[in-house]
Symmetry: C2
Subunit: 338 residues, 2 copies
């Protein structure tokens, strides 16, 4: 049985996420879910769902860490919050494989670092979504928001983590790692990218050079490395632009093809948007901690959870955290950033 | 007569840009164009075009600054390049109102600073495209690539320049200025945005707070302020994502609506892409120099030039550079960053 902790309580709509969790239990018969939170609330909402009750247990936790709280203070003060209870169990119970949380990025990052603990050799865990590319593949964007200010050594570690993820999760043997930059030419960029280029060139990874943001989803790369500020801007701009462009396209088509069925045009828009929608592709992995943690978006909905559980299940089955740890050990024999 | 310099020679396709220049002369009867470059080449290509020859003159220049050259060295060494000749005339001739160039960002920036000269009070000129928003309006993104590493004072100046541009060019009385950030909450961001928030809050502009990248084209903002690295990533990601999303939408529709006319679907895709295509919306203004300079994309094509000439013509007619200078003087009475 694959044990996964699901913390639904810092999201915008815990009720929808509880329904999604019940649905995920039904989709994956080998998954056992542990939900930290207020037992009364959870029991009341779960009573409305139809699922296998033997594979979902409640871990009592009386508090919730909000989006606006200082992450470090909240982690220290709210010991009985759903997120801290979940992270503590994740660290303590060898049978528990990973955690999914709708909590704030900062709080999840703090829990990852201070409660679950980092992989040896990793200074700063990073958030990495795996996005669908236009050729039907996937690309990992690391960091997408955990570390707003980065040193070049961190970006080097992100490249290792992203390489490990794409190997373990997607079976890519030599993931093509690119540095997000303002031009493909080597001399372009800022101080951080110029230092990072040097580090990445000397690492035992498949570093293919700079990438301009318009190529992010081209399928030419497997891992995109950048600081968390740039990654966050890139990710959100992909989301927002796709939504606008698809909606405009639907409007223009309804005008140009008055005979066409508006429902079919809307269905096509929804189909395309699934590739660009946070809620469909689950969320982002917090990489660099001893066990995998997946952050789902604050605005995640019912559909998000089964998808995220499927991803987490694959990560646990592949022994990803252990493999990354082994890869880091192997790589550390060639000294990189120290 | 509005005199505009057009430097077509560092683009990927000078021939197309020459045809575009001849077309622009026909579109705007009050515009007089000066083209710096190799007279033999220009005369040969222009001979293939049909236009009013009395309103297009050639300024002999034997060299071209390439995309891969060091901008500062190239500006010093290639005094007879089309870009340096153009910038020198722009500075010297009071009758010349502005310049459009397909040159590299770095070379145009160097020419702007060292040849044309900065507006007093501006440390670093910035590149600012004006993008169409989904509600039919426009938004200025500043900086989109001139300054990869920025101090917070520069971002404060960008806010002034963007405010001046949207007032002068688009007639927005109190442009809503937002800081590109990773969250709308005040405490989110990196060291640069946290310092910049303080500066922008104290400035005599309409600063409305942080903006997440997914809202860039929402129409809720008139000026988006960020460093040139982040702006470049944001701009290119908008371009790339829109192209992918629209093309996927066209594919899905052709599959779902087999009876629909494929030509109409493709026409709809082209119509939507015009809003997201560098070539349609001209290029980016280099703001902060004594006279307006517009950088068009290296991959600009024939259609780009008439559009860019129209923009430049409006800027010159509005006396934009003078207005920005006056606004800066007025604002400097309230000390901001110094």
């Amino acid at each position: 049985m694959i044990k996964i902790i699901i913390d639904v309580f810092s999201g915008d709509d815990p009720q929808a996420l509880i329904r999604g969790t019940a649905a995920a239990v039904n989709v994956y018969p080998d998954v056992h879910v542990i939900m930290p939170g207020d037992p009364t609330y959870l029991e009341r909402e779960l009573a409305l769902c139809d699922y296998d009750v033997s594979r979902l247990e409640i871990l009592p936790a009386s508090e919730v860490i909000g989006n606006d709280e200082s992450p470090t203070a909240a982690i220290r003060q709210k010991r009985d919050s759903s997120l801290v209870r979940g992270a503590t169990l994740l660290r303590a119970d060898p049978e528990v494989g990973g955690m999914i949380s709708a909590g704030s990025t900062g709080a999840i990052l703090c829990c990852g670092i201070f409660v679950v603990g980092r992989i040896r050799g990793i200074d700063r865990p990073a958030l990495a979504p795996v996005l669908p590319t236009v050729d039907g593949g996937s690309v990992c964007l690391i960091d997408c928001g955990a570390n707003a200010d980065c040193r070049s050594e961190y970006l080097g570690q992100f490249a290792l983590l992203g390489t490990g993820l794409m190997r373990s999760l997607c079976g890519v043997k030599e993931p093509r790692v690119a540095l997000v930059n303002v031009g493909v030419e080597g001399h372009k960029g800022n101080i951080l990218t110029s230092q990072t280029t040097k580090i990445l060139s000397e690492m035992p990874i498949n570093f293919v050079g700079n990438m301009e943001a318009r190529e992010a989803l081209s399928g030419k790369y497997d891992v995109l490395v950048c600081d968390g500020f740039v990654g966050n801007v890139l990710l959100k701009s992909i989301e927002g632009t796709a939504a606008y462009a698809v909606s405009e396209m639907a409007q223009v088509l309804k005008r140009k093809l008055p005979g066409a069925d508006a429902d079919i045009v809307d269905a096509a828009a929804r189909e395309v948007m699934r590739n660009y929608d946070y809620n469909s592709y689950g969320g982002a992995y917090l990489l660099g901690c001893r066990k995998p943690i997946e952050k789902i978006h604050g605005a995640a909905n019912e559909r998000t959870i089964p998808y995220a559980v499927g991803q987490m299940r694959s990560m646990i089955l592949s022994g990803m955290a252990d493999k990354i740890s082994e890869q880091l050990d192997a790589m550390s024999r060639k000294p990189v950033s120290e």
